[in-house]
Amino acid sequence: MSTADKTTTKSNGSSEAPWLLVTRREVVSRITDKSFLLGTVFMVVLIAGFIGFTAWQEERTDKVTLGATPDSVAMATVIEESAPDVDDSVEVSVVELDDETAAEAALLDDEVDAWLHPVEGGWELTSESSEQDSLTDVVSTVVRQQVLTDNAAGVGSTVQELEAGSDVSTAFLRGDAERAAVAEVVGFVFVFLFYFAALVFGMQLASSVIEEKQSRIVEIIAAAIPLRHLLAGKVLGNTALAVIQLLVYLVVGLVGISFTSYKSYLPALSGPTAWFIGFFLAGFVALACLWAVAGSLASRTEDLQATSTPLTMLMLAMFFGGLSLDGRGQVIASFIPPVSAVVMPKRILAGGVEWWEPLVALGLLAAFAAVTVWVGEKLYRRALLQTGGRVTLRQAWSAAE
């Protein structure tokens, strides 16, 4: 349709649909706006940087030096040998020291990261001031193993015999622990992205409505095209921008993940991500109309704070609801628009959702969007041309056109 439109425009100068013109202006004026571009680039850098840091953190091997006095050299050597079996990101090298004084001096000079020595009833790992987390884990595991082995031998038994039957393993009916953790993190990202986009683009939409109202260009526009087209164009334009930005972030995020050890989860993430985009679209359109109303109720930019308060509250409720709800509450919320826009994608991520559940939730959300578009259009049209101070919802609803 659009190509056909373009050709006719070029050949005989006939006009395009008004809503399409408005949409184009919204997109073009925003996309050529430096602050918008910089913001997007900044976010992309942030996402890429975060993923890069995580990957580096994961790949990196921690090289630590363990100081050993003559009484602990034997134990330290065992630790050096068995460290890779305990934690493959830790590499231990042993430095032999003459006595306690030499050990303390070496610690203070940063020649060794820690000094292992026997004390009464056990062993002590001394470090300068900060705890050596990965080293401590390795040392205590190996020491425990070694001491257990010795003690077991002393009573004529083996470690295996002593430990028999003491294993506690974990099992999940749905998914597994790591998947649940990944789902939790990605779910947070979904909720955050929705909140962020709805707030940023919503505010932008509302202030562009005020800009038009305040400058009265809206009167020129209203005399030329039906206001319904103006609203449709603005909502569509901002929705397109929000979805494009979201896709950029998601692509950067998913491509980034493919370079990390989490890449095995990518196939499992693609389905929920597709659902998320669908829910984002319906949820965003529903809220965008309300943002436009918030803008039309204000007469000046200063009024926006007041007219948009109910909406900002709603966004916060969605944000925290999306993050904190679980169990039955989460299941119920996943069907209630507009909260369902963030809660259902989270549930899909966590798994265990029946195939019909997202469809029903999306249908309800789309129906809700249809209602807000209908109500929003009426309020917007009636409030937009009223000047002189803030317009209340009641005034807007009952106003004659």
Binding site: G13, S15, E16, R216, E219, I220, I221, A223, P226, E401
Partner: protein, 293 residues
């Protein structure tokens, strides 16, 4: 021709425009005057369909006006403004496209108008970077896009420097020459008197006077000024006249009975020499003051 018939608009209990009727004939400039809050802007907004009409109707070429008709009108709202942060060429093309022009055609016309107003070299500048006078020029261009069939301008001259006023006047004259009806509101009565073929005076939402400038000045009780060779004191004794002012040899009279002025001039020539006998027409500002009082 644009006809406004019994147009009425209420805001709550306040009737802003009360059964106002007038015409804006083709090819004529009609000035719309009245104090602040008289209802000029409300009337113009109703004509443009930006505000709903409670009663009455607007006719264009004899039939009720439609949205498509209005799309071909040029309109300049009272508190004007376009997009401050958009290049002027882009936003004028946008406005022209909203009014139904094709992109290519719109660009050509906008470019031509910008050249004409001396803004040809600043097409890529953001509106807010222009001086106030130049912003006003851009606003004017926005209202005459695309070639309008009628012009409804709310205070088009406010804030313009004399040179900009002249180029605006030239532009408006060009449109009336092409047979386009122009309705504009203004507080500058001298300008209205100089420009307008017709005048509509509004006070408290009602039309208190309407007609051509000559009609309005000729309406009301005729006044004459008489300058004699000798003292004019005897004029007080003439019947059928009210003496408004008497100063030595000069008298200003208002004719109460038809023909009384003929008796006055006959008596004056009988008594001595007459230096001047002339009909005095009130200035527009006087008519305006009286009508809105």
């Amino acid at each position: 021709m644009l006809e406004i018939r019994e147009l009425t608009r209420r805001f709550g209990d306040n009737t802003a425009v009360d059964h106002v009727s007038f015409e804006v004939p083709a090819g004529q400039m009609t000035g719309f005057v009245g104090a602040n809050g008289a209802g000029k802007t409300t009337t113009m907004r109703m004509v443009m369909g930006v505000l709903g009409i409670n009663e009455g109707e607007v006719l264009w070429q004899g039939s009720p006006i439609t949205r498509l008709d209005r799309r071909t009108f040029g309109y300049m709202p009272e508190e004007r403004g376009l997009y401050p942060k958009q290049p002027i060429l882009d936003q004028l093309v946008y406005v022209a496209q909203l009014k139904g022009m094709g992109r290519v055609e719109a660009r050509a016309q906008v470019q031509e108008l910008l050249e004409r107003f001396g803004l040809g070299g600043r097409t890529k500048d953001h509106l807010e970077k222009l001086s106030l006078g130049n912003q006003q020029r851009v606003q004017i261009i926005a209202s005459v896009l695309p070639k309008p069939v009628a012009l409804i301008l709310d205070e088009p001259f406010s804030g313009l420097d004399p040179i900009a006023v002249d180029s605006m006047v030239d532009l408006l004259r060009e449109y009336t020459r092409d047979g386009i009806p122009v309705l504009f509101s203004s507080h500058q009565l001298d300008l209205v008197e100089r420009l307008c073929d017709r005048l509509v005076v509004l006070a408290n939402g009602r039309r208190v006077a309407a007609g051509t400038v000559t009609e309005l000045r000729d309406a009301g009780v005729p006044r004459f000024r008489l300058v004699l060779g000798g003292d004019a004191g005897w004029v007080r004794d003439q019947s059928g006249l009210d003496v408004l002012d008497l100063d030595g040899t000069t008298a200003l009279v208002e004719v109460r009975d038809d023909g009384a002025e003929q008796q006055l001039i006959a008596e004056a020539t009988r008594r001595g020499s007459v230096h001047e006998f002339v009909r005095v027409r009130p200035a527009l500002s006087e008519i305006y003051r009286e009508a809105t009082a």
